[in-house]
């Protein structure tokens, strides 16, 4: 039996799905409403899953007193109330689909020292979600 711990965080951000290599027509066809030039936004939910031994002294895989500020600094402060295309360096040359957001958030959280990052799962809306396990 293997144990994991998962914690959910939230941020709200805007984005636009647009690839400069495509024509305007191609962008509209591929991305539909998400190509609207002014951008649009979501309430993102980020579910972070950690694995590792449960420390017998604390009963914990990871102390939320350490995890929460780490995620706050690495993700929430970077993404919350931002326009992802212009204000998050990673997306200046990469389409900020939630697939790419999941991969970027995984990259940012991977160095968390106290436990193994098993998975990042993002709900872009309550109807869709994206997972990245490295």
């Amino acid at each position: 039996m293997k144990i994991s711990l998962s914690r959910r965080y939230r941020f709200a951000a805007s984005h636009r799905l647009h690839n400069a290599k495509f024509t305007a027509e191609e962008n509209r066809r591929l991305y539909g409403k998400c190509n609207s030039p002014y951008g649009h936004g979501h309430n993102y939910v980020v579910e972070v899953t950690l694995t590792g031994p449960v420390d017998p002294a604390t009963g914990m895989i990871a102390n939320l007193g350490e995890l929460d500020p780490f995620v706050e600094r690495e993700v929430v402060e970077v993404f919350d109330h931002k326009y992802l295309n212009e204000e998050v360096a990673e997306f200046q040359n990469r389409v900020p689909t939630t697939e790419n957001v999941a991969r970027e958030i995984f990259r940012r959280l991977k160095p968390f020292p106290a436990a193994h990052l098993e998975r990042v799962r993002i709900e872009e809306t309550s109807k869709n979600s994206f997972e990245f396990c490295g």
């Binding site: 039996m1 293997k2 144990i3 994991s4 711990l5 998962s6 914690r7 959910r8 965080y9 579910e47 899953t49 694995t51 449960v54 002294a57 604390t58 009963g59 914990m60 895989i61 102390n63 939320l64 007193g65 098993e118 998975r119 799962r121 709900e123 979600s129 997972e131």
Partner: protein, 144 residues
């Protein structure tokens, strides 16, 4: 293979305290959860059993039976109890979400006679949960 999941809720009190730590260390490591008066949660437990449906009944395991097992093994032991004092299986352990989920796995595993216990997911709050999964099983996503 089919997975079936049953959800049950229980409410319980706990606090985190390690007698081997100084009072100062306990406060630093456990923060608000160290309040000796305890505090409580509405825990939500999701239990998943995996197996092939019986050709005669069409069921992996009768959900009524799973419901009875959860009632007997978990709800009667933990509902409206103080987890630090009233659940012998947790004696000597800090009653974190990880440890409670592991104890629930140990309690349920021998009781599941049809199919196999596949996952125990225990929510302490909608934003914090622990999963126990069978060995070799990749942790699966999905939120209730």
């Amino acid at each position: 293979m089919i997975r079936i999941t049953r959800k049950v809720e229980f409410s319980a009190a706990h606090f985190y305290h390690n007698p081997n730590f100084s009072a100062e260390e306990n406060r630093r490591v456990f923060g608000k959860c160290n309040n000796p008066h305890g505090h409580g949660h509405n825990y939500v437990l999701e239990v998943t059993v995996a197996g092939e449906p019986d050709p005669e009944t069409g069921m992996v395991l009768d959900l009524k039976e799973l419901k009875d097992i959860l009632q007997r093994e978990v709800v009667e032991r933990m509902d409206h109890r103080h987890l630090n004092y009233e659940v012998p299986e947790l004696a000597g352990k800090i009653p974190t979400c990880e440890n409670i989920a592991a104890v629930i796995w140990q309690l349920l595993d021998p009781q599941i006679k049809q199919g196999k216990l596949d996952r125990v997911r225990l929510y302490e709050s909608p934003d914090l949960f622990a999963d126990c999964v069978a060995n070799g099983q990749a942790a699966t996503g999905g939120h209730a």
